[in-house]
Amino acid sequence: MSKEKLELFEVFIRSKRGLDHKHVGSLHAQDHEQALEYARDCYTRRSEGVSIWVVRSGDICASQEEDSDSFFDPSDDKPYRLASYYKLPDPVDNM
């Protein structure tokens, strides 16, 4: 089978219940179902995960380099608007 007929998928794995899915890499497959199986075989064989998401890479809408200024340069003068301003009690993990 020629690789040109395969599509690229991004793989996200949740390593523990309660945590969020993290991007771990990408792979080629014919469709979602096959991508899910290959994700299992390529990324979770040493019990790294409890849940897998696969997403067609082409379906991801990504920000562009030239958008950086308008996207990522927030005003720093009102820190109380940011979640990181507030101190979390210790028992709250993984926020």
């Binding site: 690789k3 395969l6 080629h28 497959a29 290959y38 075989d41 390529c42």
Partner: protein, 255 residues
Amino acid sequence: MSDDDLKQMTLDYTLRLGDDALVLGQRISEWVSNGPFLEEDIAYGNVALDYIGRARMYYHYAAELAADGRSEDDFAYLRNEREFRNYLINELPRGDFAFSQVRQLMVDLFNSGFLARLAESKDATLAAIAAKAIKETRYHLRRSREWLLRLGDGTEESHRRTQRAVEDLWGYTHELFEPDELEQRLADADIGVDTAALKSQWKQAVAAVLSEATLTLPEDDWAVRGGRRGYHTENLGHLLTELQSIHRAYPGCRW
């Protein structure tokens, strides 16, 4: 039947199951670095590892039953082809990818029925091995079933090759369901599995996948048998030569 007889029979039976797993595992491992693309290469390599792991569990138990100083390595590396008792279907060369996947489907469906019964064996070790192996087999079956659908209902060439593989393999499936005296007696003792009782369900399941994949079930017009008696095709000797070469050149070597 004395306890010693039963133990000897269980040992022989366990070796047969180990031989099936080792020989097929070795065959599948030949796809490593030869797969159609990287992801499939890794995925099918994992299936090979499952089988080799299964062979080790059976041989380890066989060594325990034999209790004569032989280890799992002795069973895998120091027996010749006449002493191997695997079903012939497992030793056939890997062929093209369609051939390997058709064999995989037939064996996976067989194992689905077989391991479910073996998991209820009175022999606690065999039951435990089967309980572990059946989880792997469910995943193997998911893969081989999907490949059959893709290949059978794919291009004209993939359909042709897959149908040919079905026909080339069909005659090797009959012996899976023909238990000999040893297997019959162990089945009567609730230790082994009466594979004859699995046949109709297996055939229905194969027919269902083939029909969904636009493939046809062949006629039962020929059959080759003999694996369980140690009569093999010429392919097993070549396979064992490669499998055993390191151990025979460097006896007892470890890494």
